[in-house]
Symmetry: none
């Protein structure tokens, strides 16, 4: 079953308002096993809206519109839908009554213009709007479903969840269902991921898609089947195969992020961590403390941006800094040990590197980063070379550092 979304509102085209409906409805419909094939955003313009709606009727089983249900002259959605479908507009008495009451409770007379909000294409089911005065509508026509929702997200979202989602769940039950899973990877380039599972990406079902963030690659697996169980089985099988080929790089599934995964591992083991940051400048501490409840395992950190602090605060020996430089394995190791000691933590995590744009040399180029983890039973260090500019190097370093902790703790978990 295919769905298509039509967002109306000139304020969306001019960028005055950020459109969040696409994300909300996309996620809700995917969860119902309904594939969204197209979004269109159109202004408050009768001709253009009618054209877009006509095309959607030819293409999709389910058409959802947002916005344009208010009392003003440029609120045209219901009228356009009725016109294209050749239906008259009829007044809905209970809605008119509700609007009248709404004004009466506030001691105000109902403006005549607002009567429009109680009119719907003939045959529509009216969807109550607990958060506003403009109800929505649902129409079944020629095997198509048209769902008309209000523009404000705080009105649209409850209306969708209360009235639309249960209806669509029943509807989707009749056709094919789909299930999907997102695997999140770090420490590997998109092109390498693609190479490793090229054969799987050629399949139609399950289907594989990619998404790249700085220091992160996401693999989305979506399967369809007649039965929910069968779709689940297809996703699980494909997930298993991707996991087999890309094992150590996968840090999370679906909504999980790296700081949550690492936080959960630390909390489960009942251990604490402290962070010493140079080129990342506080980014790792910020991400670890983004997680509610992180004070259970995150003691804090030192941002040793100036090299003197590495010596004075973290106790990196001067001869290490002089002989090997601030960006070196030896310095990273001493920073990790130093912050662990200074803060009295079980683990000390340290990052030192060259984020750019300046500071690179032929021997130590921009992107060179050392990450060390000091544990009760020893310290390990890894060298990285991150591509891209300052932003990417810093994000990549933070991801790699959190991933180092993850891999280390996973090993611990299996002891």
């Amino acid at each position: 079953m295919h769905a298509e979304l039509i967002f109306t509102g000139t304020e969306l085209l001019s960028g005055q308002v950020l459109n969040t409906h696409g994300q909300f409805l996309g996620q809700e419909l995917s969860a119902l096993g309904i594939e969204v094939i197209l979004h269109t955003t159109v202004g408050d313009d009768w001709e253009r809206m009618a054209e877009v709606f006509r095309q959607a009727l030819r293409r999709s089983d389910i058409i959802i519109t947002t916005g344009g249900l208010g009392p003003t002259a440029d609120d045209l959605t219901k009228e356009t839908v009725a016109d294209v479908l050749g239906l008259p507009m009829v007044e809905h008495e209970p809605s008119l009554e509700a609007i009248r009451e709404h004004f009466a409770r506030r001691g105000m007379a109902m403006p005549e213009s607002i009567r429009k909000q109680a009119c719907f294409p003939a045959g529509a089911r009216v969807l109550p709007n607990p958060k506003g005065t403009a109800p929505g509508a649902l129409l079944e026509t020629d095997g198509r479903v048209v769902i008309i929702l209000p523009g404000p997200p705080w009105e649209l979202q409850p209306m969708f969840r209360d009235s639309v989602a249960p209806y669509l769940a029943r509807l989707a039950g009749r056709g094919a269902v789909s299930r999907s899973r997102v695997l999140k990877l770090t420490g590997i380039a998109e092109s390498v991921v693609q190479d490793k599972i090229r054969d799987l990406t050629r399949e139609e079902n399950p289907r594989i898609g990619f998404l790249v963030r700085p220091g992160e690659v996401q693999v989305r697996i979506t399967a369809r089947a007649e039965e929910e169980q069968e779709a689940e089985r297809l996703v699980a099988e494909c997930t298993e195969e991707v996991r087999r080929r890309l094992a150590g790089f996968i840090f999370g599934v679906d909504e999980e992020n790296l700081e949550e995964v690492v936080g959960q591992l630390l909390a489960d083991l009942g251990v604490t961590i402290a962070v010493a940051e140079s080129c990342t400048g506080g980014l790792i501490s910020t991400r670890l403390t983004d997680v509610p409840g992180s004070s259970r395992y995150m003691l804090g950190g030192v941002v040793a941006y100036d090299n003197r602090l590495k010596e004075q605060l973290l106790g990196v020996p001067r001869e290490v800094l002089e002989r090997h430089g601030a960006v070196s394995e030896e310095t990273a190791v001493a920073m990790a040990q130093g912050v662990r000691r200074l803060l009295g933590a079980d683990f000390g995590l340290a990052v030192t590197g060259i984020a750019g744009p300046t500071g690179g040399t032929p021997e130590k180029p921009v992107g060179l980063v050392y990450i060390a983890l000091s544990a009760p039973d020893g310290t390990c260090c890894r060298e990285f070379r991150f591509p891209g500019q300052r932003h990417s190097v810093r994000q990549g370093s933070a991801n790699a550092a959190l991933n180092l902790v993850r891999l280390f703790l996973m090993g611990k978990n299996h002891l």
Copy 2:
């Protein structure tokens, strides 16, 4: 002149990713005096993308696509555009060279699959991508302009501003010109900003728009005129009037962000800063060090997330913590003085507060934050109550802290 935007990416349809391109491009094009008449979001599907692109060619003068420029099999945009326009794909030697160099600098072999990123529809002007490996493209064809941009916002936005906006400004120069300016405010609510300039927002030219971010309000002033100078004059006059009414709250103009403004003030005065963070967990340090060259003035910081560190590392007296609590004016002041002393900086900035979701009490609710600044000649502290959830409280706190430094240093500048 009409523009139309085509966003590609299955992850946008499924709601995995929030589409922010519509807002960014809508604002930029409006500022250039170009009307956006339609957005379409389409998946990584050749047939559907070709259909959407064909319709756009019939309808609009300017067509901008986003996404689908990567090396994988589902990156189809350039190939689809070439196919619909009947153009062959040709390899662009300078782009291939740049990509080769990118890999060579990192001591890696170039994957064969990535060669695709250096191929473009014949006749296209290649748009450099300073933030990534996939260049964009610009094509003039039959009186239409087709502009092909990458998907990641951090690549798309600089490419648009550097290469596309100047081109479109010249193109739009055939009609009316427009100029715009963004004033960035902090420490004030959107509703208060609106009240203060309500009369100005009723004007058609210059036109005023608002955009709200956590802890930040942006006022965008756009003027149109037949001559560039006249548009400039209208923007300047309106900017002056807004400045007069909202003086102390405006921290930056256009692309400036708060950390750059603060960094420039610190650099100009030749002074250094150190940061002690509790509830912000490293966010202020991260933002200060986001600025290239920040090592001139940013020494580093301490993330004292655990309360023991406030005492042991920053030297907050135990009796202060016991009598007033970790979230108090007294603790914030002692933290600021402590980090200034510990790191040997000219200024010490400290934040302590309750970010939530837990930890609030009736006397000290979620959102209560104390921010202190210790200077060579004394220490000041302010109390804040930030609305919203954890993320908003942390962002609001970081903005308020940086703004406190800004206001203090501006005063110093005038001494």
